[in-house]
Assembly symmetry: D2
Homo-oligomer: 446 residues x 4
C-alpha cells in the first residue's frame, strides 16, 4: 500500500501535492517525495520519514512549477534504503520524466531480468524503476505511445502518475485494483489522488474515478484532458481498501468507506450468536464496524480500549517486568468499564494473530469475563501480491489454522469472521472485487 | 495543566518515569524532563518537545539511580523558553534537590516579589522556582520541615514531587484540586503520578490517591513511607479533569473519567429538545460524551468527523484558496454521511468559540442540513487560575455573550450547554468540585 | 577535483575507506559515500556534507564486507543534488556493482547522448553514471572485459574504482592526469587512493603509483593482483596537483608536493626584482612556496596573515558597515607586523582575481606600505576540463587581462607569476605535465 | 580559558557579539551564548557547541536590542552540562541582568558555601552564578554599587561583562590577569572583548585595554562612559596568553602575540646547543616560535608536520592495527622531508607529555634521525587556578620529572625549555606577569 498524487495547471502544484500526501499519510510512512516540473526540468525532493518531517516551507518553496507528482511509501520489512523513495526522476531521451506508483507488478521480476539482460542498471529495488526503463527504451516516438507500450508490458495492479516537462499522465490497471480519483482544484487545476480524503483537505472537487484501464493525459496550460481506454476487464477494486487501508472518510469507487465498514459490522452482528454486555472496538481501525455492529444488535458501544496517538517514535527500553509493552504503548483497556463484563471486541482483521492475542490478554487482565472476538473481514489465508505488504503463507495464522484453532491461539471465548459472501454483500453484490487474501483467486497472473 | 511523576526504590526509576510521562503526554507537549538521584547527586535531562523526542535509549541510560521525578509541561502562549522546562534541579544547603509541579500558586507573584526583595535570583518564569527558593532559605533544619514550611507559604492548587539524594517527597494542596495517585511498581518500588493511565502502561498497582493536604515521605531503601496530614479542606478536585484534561482511561478520585463523560452526555441528552438523525462527536475529546448522549436517546452515533493524527508538526503553506486549513488538517467531516441530515454535534467545551465556529462551518459545507451543537460542560465564563492555561476574560466567548449570542456566533442551529448542576450531578453530588471556570468561585484566594 | 579510495581483503574495509576519505577531505567537501561488498551484495551510504558528518560509528558498522570503495565530491556550483553523491551503486546483469570516479570525461555528453538515444535513463548528473551504463550494456562476457571496453570508450582524465561482489577494479587514464597510488594495509589488504596522505593516517605502506593506462584487478581472498596495461601515452600528471590540490604531505608521482611547492617559491624568488622587508604567505595554500621563496632570498618569513579554521559553516549576517566579511572570516592580517612595511605576499594562484584583490586591500588597510604579490603558478588563461572545476573563460582574469592589468585590478604594487617553464622546471623537466589552464593545450581531445 | 564580549549602543549588538565570539572561538568550543537587552527585558540563547552551530540567521534575529553580551566556554573535563553555558541571565530585584565571565575566583567555594548557607540555590556549577547571587543579595541601592560590592568579595582573576536593561558594566580584576580590550564599532557603539582579533573582524577600532581593577559603566544611548578605578595592584597579565591562548594576531596589553612568540623562539634558539638540519613547528601552536627560532639561528624552517583542520567532529573507529590515531588524525609528518635528518621541533608547551611523546614517535617513524625538542615556555610545574583548565599536580609531567626524565619519557634526543627569565624577557622585563604554572607563585590568595 502506498499513495500517489498528481497535480497539473496549478501555480501551487507542489503545495497541493504536499497537502494531499499529508492527508494520505496513513497509506505509507516509510518515505515520501514530490517531483515538480517547471516546464523545462524536473526537480525532486524525497527522503525517509513522514511528510511533515521531510518538507518544510523552505524546501517546498524550491519546488516551483505547475506540474507535480508525489508519493507516500509504505513501510516494508527489511529492504528500506534511501533509494527506495519515490517518485523516480530520470533524464532520458524524452528529457526529464518522473514516475510514482501505487500497486505491484506481478511480472516485475521478469521485466527486470529482461531489462538487466538488455543492459539496464537498477539503482533501486522498486518495480517503478522497471517502467521508467521501459519508457526510455521504447522505440515509439512520443512519451504517450511509450507509456502505453510500457503499460501493455506490465501485468499487475497499479496506479501510475507520470510527469514530463509539460504533461501529466495517469494510468490505472485494467481491473482497477488500486483506487485513483480525479478532482478539480479551486484554482482550476486538476488533481488525481489515491483517496478522496486528499481532495477534502484542499477543497478539491471530486470529478470521477479514473477508470480501470484508463490512461488520462493532461497538458500544461490546457483545461481539456484526453482519456484513452486501454485494455479493460471487469473491474475488481481491492476489497482490503474497504476493510483496512482507506481512511473512513474516503469515497472508494463511489462508496463511503465508513458506511461499508458499518455494514461489515452489521453483517458480523447478524451472525453473532453470543450475548454481550457491550461492543468494544479496537481503535481506530475497528471503530466503524463496531458502530454498525452495535447499532444492529442494539447493544451499547463502549470505547473501553483507549489509544495513545503519541506512539510514533517512542522507543522501548527493556525492563524485565513489563510484558506486552509494544501493544500497551498504543492501547489501554479500561478496567472500570470491563470488569466482570461479557464483551464483543471488533477488530478489522487478523493477520498473524500476534496482536489479537495480546489484546485479548490485556482485556482479560483488565477484568473482562468473557471476550468474544468478531473480525470485520474473512480469514486471511493467502498472501496479497497486488500492492499490499502481507506476510508469507507461513506467517498468516488463518492459512495454517482453522477458526477454532485461531480462537484457541488468541485465547478468545469465541471468534467470528465475516464470510467472503458477507464481505462482498457489505460492499455491494453488484460488482466484483479483488479478494485474493481471502479466496486465493490470483486473477491477475503472469 | 501539566503532569508529574515520582518513582522511588526502583532500579529502573528513570525508565518508569519515562513511560509514565509518555502515558501522560496529553497533559503537556511543550517540554519534558526527568531528574534522577543516584544517592549522592541529582542529574537532569530536560528539553522542549515531546517525551519521545527528548529521550532515547542512550541518554535515558545516563539517568541511573533509584529515585526519579519527571514532568510534562503544557504549552503556554508566548513565554516558552528553554529554561521553562521542569524539574528544576538545584544545589542548596541540603545538597542537590529537584522539584516538579503541576498546578498554580495564586500568591506566586507575592512570593516571588518577596524572594526577589530578599535577594533571590530567578532563572525561569515558573512558580516552581519559588518553592525551591523557599526550601533553600528556610531556617528549619531538615528538608522535610523546610518543605512543610514552604508549602504553608503556598496558596494555590498544586501537586509537588521533590527528590533529594535519598528521599522522595510528594505533596498535594489542601483542596486536592489537581489529581495525584499512588501506586506500587512490579519491582516493589513506589510511583506517584498525575493520572492512573500511567500506572496501566507499566503495570503498576494503584494503591490510593494522595489525599488533599497530604505530604508523603518515601525513603530510599525503605518500603515504609510516612504520611503527614497538613492543612486539609473539603476536597474539591478540578471538574475540568473530568471534562477535558484527563485521559478517559484514567480513574480520577475513584471515578472513571470515561464513565463520567458518558454521564455528561446523558445529562445533555436529557435536556436536548431537538430531533436529530444521529449524534456526531468532535473527535477525540467529544467521543465519550457522545456515546452517553446516543445511548440515552437511542439515536445512532456516527463518526462523521475523521481526525488525522499525523498533524503534530505539520506546517501550513499559505495558498489563498484554502480556508480553515488549520482545523481541516485535523478534522474532516464526511459528506456521504452528513448530506441532508439533521445532526447533533458533541464537543467537550467552548472556550473562544473559534474552533466550534469552524467545525460548524465545515459540517455545513459537507451538507449537514441542521446542526445542533451540544457541549458537555457549562459555559466557561471565568479564567481558571488553578493550573489550567485558559484565556483571559476578554477572550472567553461565554464571558461576553449569552447562549443565544454564542449560538449565532458559531452559526449552529441550536446550542445546548450542561448546567453547573448537571455537570456536578454527572460527576457525583456527594462531593464538591473546583468549578471556577463556570461559577467564578475562586475559593483558593490569596 | 575529487578523491577516490578502494580497499580489498580487509575485514575493516569500510573503516579504512572512511579514514582515507577523511585524510583526503581537502579534495572535496560537497558529498561523500562508501560502498561495501559483503561477497554477495553491495551496500552504500552516501550523503551531502563532510565525511565526519555523514559517517558515525553506528552507520559505519552496517557497512560490513571486505571490499569497499569511497568518494569525496568537490563542491561544484549550482547543480548539487542528493543524487550527485558517489559511489554509484547499481544492480545490473553482472549483479551489484559500485563505481566511483575522480576526473572528467571530455566525451561525456556524446556518451550520455548515445546512451540516452539507446534507451538509458540517468538518475544523476555525473559522468560516472555513463560508465556504469557502458558496463551494463556491453556485450562482453565478464566484468573485466566490459570495464575495459567501457574505458576504451572514455576519452578524458580519470581514476576509477569499481567494486563487484568479489573484485576491485582500478583504472587510470592513458596519460595519468589524475593521481592514484597503491598501498598495502597493515592487515595485509590492499588500498588505492588519490593521495598518499591517506596511507599515512592508516599506516598503509606505499607500493607504487597506478600507471597511466593501467587496469588493476584485485580478487577477494587473493593476495596476487593482476595488472593489465591498456592504451598508454606519455604520462602527463596534472600540474595543478602540485600547485594547489594535493596536500603538501602527499607524494604525487614520486615527488613531495611540499618540496615542489618550495621549489616554485624559489623560482619565483629567483626572478623577483623588488625589495621586501619580509615574505607573507596567504595561509594555508601559500605557505610552502613562501618558505622556498624566503629561504632562497634569505629574507624573513612572517605569518602576518592569520587563518581562522573554524570558518566552515559560519553564516554571514549582513550589516551595512562590514566589508570583505567573507574573506575576513577566514583571514586576518596583523597590523603590528605589517605597518609601514614593504612585503611580498605569496599565493598559490589567481583565478578570478576577486580574493587576491580583497587580500591586498586588507593588507593595505593593515598598514603595509608596499605590497608585492608573487603567485606560485603561471597565469591561468584557460578553463580546465580534466576534472577541475575552473570558471569559464570569461571569469578567468588572466584570460582577459595581461599581467599589468591584473596588477592594477588587484591593486598590488607589483605582480609576479611563474612562467610555464619555471613551473615545469620546479616540478621536474624530465617528464611532461598537463598544463591546460596555462597553455591551453587540450591534449586529450574528443 | 574562555572568551567574553560586550556590545552597547549598536542596533546590531547581537550580530557584533556573534562575530566577536566567532573570532574568539579558539578560547572555548564547549558552549556559547549571547544575551541581549531590548531596553526592558533580556533574552538569551545559549547551548553546547561552536558558535556557528548554535547561531543561525533565524535565531540571531530574535536577539534584538542595543546591548549584548556573549561568552565562549572552554571545554572542561567531566562536568559539562547544559546549564554550564553562559551568560547567566536572571531576574532579580533590579530586573533582568545577565553576566558572563572569563577567569576563575579562588574563593568561589567559600562564596558559594556562604551563599548556600544563606539560602541561595545554584542551578549551575559555574562561579559566575556566585556573582549574580552577590549582586541580587547586596543591600546597596543600585546595580553599580552592588556590582562593586560583589567584586570586592571576589578574589581571583576575572573579566566580567554585565548587562542590565540599559547599561553595560565591564570589570577586570585588580591584577589584570585575563585580557580585556575596549573598542569602538563602526556604527559608533562600544565593544569590549577578551582579544583584539575580535575587533579586526568587525573593523572595530581599538581604544585601549581595560585597566586592572577598572570598572567601566556604559549607558545605553550615551556616548560617554564612566570609568571607576577599584582596587588595583601591580598588573600581572597571564603569561600563558602569550604562550598559548591568544590568537597570534591579537594584541595583548599592547604587545603583538605573534612577535612575542617569535621572541620566545629566539630565546630558545640562543640557548640551543645542538645542530639541526632544520626547524619543524608543531602546527599551528608552534609556528610563531619556530619562525623566531629559525630566523635567529639562520637555519631553514620546514613545515614538515601537516595539520588536518577537518578533525573537529571525527569519531575514531577502533581497529587493532592503528596506533596513535587520535594524534595522527590531526598531524602528519612528511617522510620525504624528514628522512635521515637531524631536526629541532618547536612546540608551545609540555603539559602531560602524552602528545609530545606521540609526536616524537611519529617523527621517528617518519625517518627523522635525531629529534631535538624545544619548548617555547618553561616547565609547567604547578596547576593554574586563575582561569585555565590545567591538570592536577599529579598529571603535570614537569611537576614530577626533571628535564632529563621528561626527555627520556618523550623519547627526544634532547629537550630544551625556556627558563622563566627567558620567558619574561621575551615578553618584556618592564612589567610583571602571572607565572603560576611555572613558579607556583599563587599571588592571588584566598
Amino acid at each position: 500500500m502506498c499513495a500517489v498524487v498528481g497535480v497539473i495547471n496549478s501555480k501551487n502544484a507542489s503545495t497541493y501535492a504536499y497537502y494531499a500526501l499529508f492527508a494520505m499519510q496513513h497509506r505509507g510512512q516509510e518515505a515520501s517525495g514530490i517531483s515538480v516540473s517547471d516546464g523545462k526540468n524536473i526537480k525532486t525532493i524525497k527522503a525517509k520519514g513522514e511528510v511533515s518531517q521531510i518538507f518544510n516551507p523552505h524546501n517546498l518553496q524550491t519546488l516551483q512549477g505547475e506540474i507535480a507528482i508525489g508519493h507516500n511509501r509504505y513501510s516494508t520489512a527489511g529492504n528500506s534504503s534511501l533509494d527506495d523513495a519515490q517518485p523516480i526522476a530520470a533524464n532520458c531521451v524524452l528529457g526529464d520524466i518522473a514516475l510514482a506508483h501505487n500497486g505491484n507488478l506481478v511480472n516485475k521480476e521478469e521485466i527486470r531480468n529482461q531489462l538487466i539482460q538488455d543492459g539496464a542498471i537498477f539503482q533501486t529495488h522498486m518495480d517503478t524503476e522497471n517502467v521508467v526503463h521501459l519508457i526510455a527504451r521504447s522505440k515509439k516516438e512520443n512519451l504517450q505511445d511509450r507509456f502505453i507500450e510500457s503499460l501493455n508490458n506490465c501485468i499487475g495492479a497499479y496506479c501510475f502518475v507520470l510527469a514530463s516537462k509539460d504533461k501529466l499522465y495517469v494510468a490505472r490497471d485494467p481491473y482497477g485494483v488500486r483506487p485513483l480519483s480525479l478532482g478539480r482544484l479551486k484554482d482550476g487545476g486538476y488533481i488525481v489522488a489515491s483517496e478522496t480524503c486528499a481532495f477534502d483537505l484542499i477543497e478539491a472537487e471530486f470529478i470521477r474515478d479514473v477508470k480501470p484501464g484508463e490512461l488520462i493525459i493532461f497538458t500544461q496550460g490546457n483545461d481539456q484532458f484526453e482519456s484513452i481506454q486501454l485494455e479493460a476487464k471487469t473491474p475488481r477494486i481491492c476489497a482490503f481498501e474497504y476493510v483496512y487501508f482507506a481512511r473512513p472518510d474516503s469515497i472508494v469507487e463511489g462508496k463511503s468507506v465508513y458506511e461499508i465498514r458499518k455494514k461489515m459490522g452489521e453483517s458480523l452482528a447478524r451472525k453473532f450468536s453470543h450475548k454481550a454486555d457491550f461492543v468494544v472496538p479496537v481503535p481506530d481501525s475497528g471503530v466503524s464496524a463496531a458502530i454498525g455492529f452495535a447499532q444492529y444488535l442494539k447493544i451499547p458501544l463502549e470505547m473501553a480500549i483507549v489509544r495513545n496517538h503519541y506512539v510514533g517514535r517512542t522507543f522501548i527500553e527493556p525492563t524485565q517486568e513489563l510484558r506486552n509493552l509494544k501493544v500497551k504503548l498504543k492501547l489501554n483497556p479500561m478496567r472500570k468499564v470491563l470488569e466482570g463484563k461479557e464483551i464483543v471486541v471488533i477488530d478489522d482483521s487478523i493477520v498473524r494473530g500476534t496482536t489479537s492475542k495480546k489484546i485479548v490478554s490485556l482485556l482479560r487482565a483488565a477484568g473482562a469475563k468473557k471476550i468474544h472476538l468478531a473480525v470485520a473481514c474473512p480469514e486471511i489465508k493467502f498472501p496479497d501480491i497486488y500492492g499490499i505488504d502481507t506476510p508469507t503463507f507461513e506467517e498468516l495464522i488463518s492459512a495454517n489454522k482453522n477458526i477454532e484453532e485461531v480462537r484457541k491461539h488468541v485465547e478468545a471465548d469465541s471468534l467470528t469472521f465475516l464470510s467472503i459472501e458477507e464481505l462482498v454483500g457489505s460492499i455491494g453484490n453488484e460488482r466484483q472485487y479483488s479478494l485474493i487474501s481471502f479466496d486465493g483467486d490470483y486473477f491477475i497472473k503472469n
